[in-house]
Symmetry: C2
Subunit: 415 residues, 2 copies
Amino acid sequence: MTWLDVPRTHPFGIQTLPYGSFTTPDGPVPRVGVAIGDDVLDLTAAAATLLPEQAGLFAAGGLDPLLAAGPPVWAAVRAAVTEWLTEPRHRAAVEPLIVPASEVSLLLPFTVADYVDFYSSEHHAANVGRIFRPGSDPLPPNWKHQPLGYHGRAGTVVVSGTPVVRPAGQRRTADGEVVFGPSTRLDIEAEIAYVVGVPSTPGRPVALGEFADHVFGVCLLNDWSARDIQAWEYTPLGPFLGKSFGTSVSPWVVPLAALEHAWVAPPPRDPRPLPYLDDTGRTDGLDLAMEVRLGGHPIAQPPGAGMYWTPAQQLAHLTSGGAPLRTGDVYASGTVSGPEPGQRGSLLELTWNGAEPLTLPGGETRAFLEDGDEVVISGSAPGPGGTRVGFGEVRGRILPTPQTSDQEGPEQLRP
Amino acid sequence: MTWLDVPRTHPFGIQTLPYGSFTTPDGPVPRVGVAIGDDVLDLTAAAATLLPEQAGLFAAGGLDPLLAAGPPVWAAVRAAVTEWLTEPRHRAAVEPLIVPASEVSLLLPFTVADYVDFYSSEHHAANVGRIFRPGSDPLPPNWKHQPLGYHGRAGTVVVSGTPVVRPAGQRRTADGEVVFGPSTRLDIEAEIAYVVGVPSTPGRPVALGEFADHVFGVCLLNDWSARDIQAWEYTPLGPFLGKSFGTSVSPWVVPLAALEHAWVAPPPRDPRPLPYLDDTGRTDGLDLAMEVRLGGHPIAQPPGAGMYWTPAQQLAHLTSGGAPLRTGDVYASGTVSGPEPGQRGSLLELTWNGAEPLTLPGGETRAFLEDGDEVVISGSAPGPGGTRVGFGEVRGRILPTPQTSDQEGPEQLRP
């Protein structure tokens, strides 16, 4: 138990201790923080006096050096923070280094190296297949053989709270005309993101059992998607501009050490995966329960448990051809959707491509996102002793496309 | 004319002055260099005494600070280097700072931020269509409306000379079996890469006319491709592991200032591009003549002139949805193929998917790359006064897939 006044039911109780990067109005220089209850421990300041041998990891105010430091250091830092917050003898030194969470601004906590997005929910992939290829097999023929994925744009990964500007782009209208303008089908994708700490060696695949040697922690991710831009561009090279105008991540990275009680068996697979993906006997599924709210109203509860491909399999596949990992690599699960309609992690599925709009309290309906809409995705996983390990939230509000000359017609460009 | 003994016909004459990063056996700390003839000027050392107001740009030994500095600084540095190498009064100071190129090791010259690969040669795209979709329209329906592209893996971009390890991966055999093992169809793609210097503002597209405000220079790129892995994985999310085991770039970045004589009109387009891509009246095509050699034997001469989509259009498209540019972003043309069989920039096309193997001097044949094969891509563009602006070369040799337990069968994994 911590000496702070944090209820056992708090998602950011002592069982969680996620890491982030923050500033305050009085302290504009970024610092590393650890969330505890409704407060934030200034780890940069605390380490300077209480953990001097590791203080250098936190001096720059972001998580990059900690991520690179590896499992023994991760364990030592977590043990130290746990001790500071639980043993009363540390209270006098630590309490002055605690800031109310309401007073901090949270930053993108680490430098994103490469960003990969997978497609690992069978329910999501099958829903997409049923919507776009009715009458044929809902899953692509390769889907059950490998965790399909693609590289996204690392430079458009932003922290929760960053406004998302509705992208302009090319789309093909129902009558076959190709036009350029603000996306008319702006969507979300509720996903789980894995943050790589320790690099791997080029040419050396990372086996399933080596997941925890490389991955530092987990956060939530909203892969904002412009369905109209995506639909017109994605054959044959995959998603590009339809998904590279903003990808939001939650500001708190929950370390794997907080998730010991959250691993579950993955669903049965048929066919049996090839040896490098065969996790028979392992429990590599993450039981992360998510909630999606639109304008404050809950619209979906996507379940991380039940994902067909696990994060360990995603990592093994990603590195199977020899691609090395770098500190700050992020890979995401793909949209998390469960078998029930209320468990779908995208509006595409929740509204069945707009055919069945959601009705919000007050009577407004939504097929896709309107300007001004705010989406919040939160999540938690089982912790020790019946507690929940919180992931906080990833939040974003849609801003209208700015007017630029690019969206004017040829007449305006050539007077 | 430079006071060095450099013939006017030298591709690295005074008209070129490309930038790179190098070490020497005596000087293992990276320095910025400028190629001149068969030598390299140590710009880090030269700037310290001769250009002190800009010396900080070169102190770290890589190009990142120079890239970020922007066009006025790029012009000032190039003018200074040109003056040092042409005016005899500088000879005494500069000559001691010149190292024979044969004595330097060239490094990846800048930090790659995001890497995007386009698909902008109509001849290449049509050849691919004819090979894989005979009887149907060779180009996808979106191809003439936008420069198609996808994000590649920035962490696997390597400098020329780095060995390329044949990747293992999943493929589907001719009889439909899915197996994992070393790629059996390893290929090259001869491409032109554009290196972004100046960031752009999120949400603010970069117009065609702003290309030179952001792009610093150009290099050669070999997008090594495992066709069997790619063919099995790429529907519907595009190329992933089939192209993320190694992407080689040439070590010398040729600044745009050296390419004033190299721009040509692009081919006629039908349909006329949308306004943000409409370059009527502009001459944004790059007349970069490439040569591909396999085992020392020339196998193709891909022409950069004639690419359907120009680098200015690629940049306008990439940013059209608001994605910001970062210093070190690289985007590549896609395979450069011309209309003639000898102008095709991939083995896929040169051997028509292996059906028409190349015969090398000595009688060996090649459908795809064998272990030990070395591929060298070189290039040059028109310079002032009938000179050629050289791009040097991008070189790589194929190493065999290392043996790992991942490639053993299930019997070995479960004794």
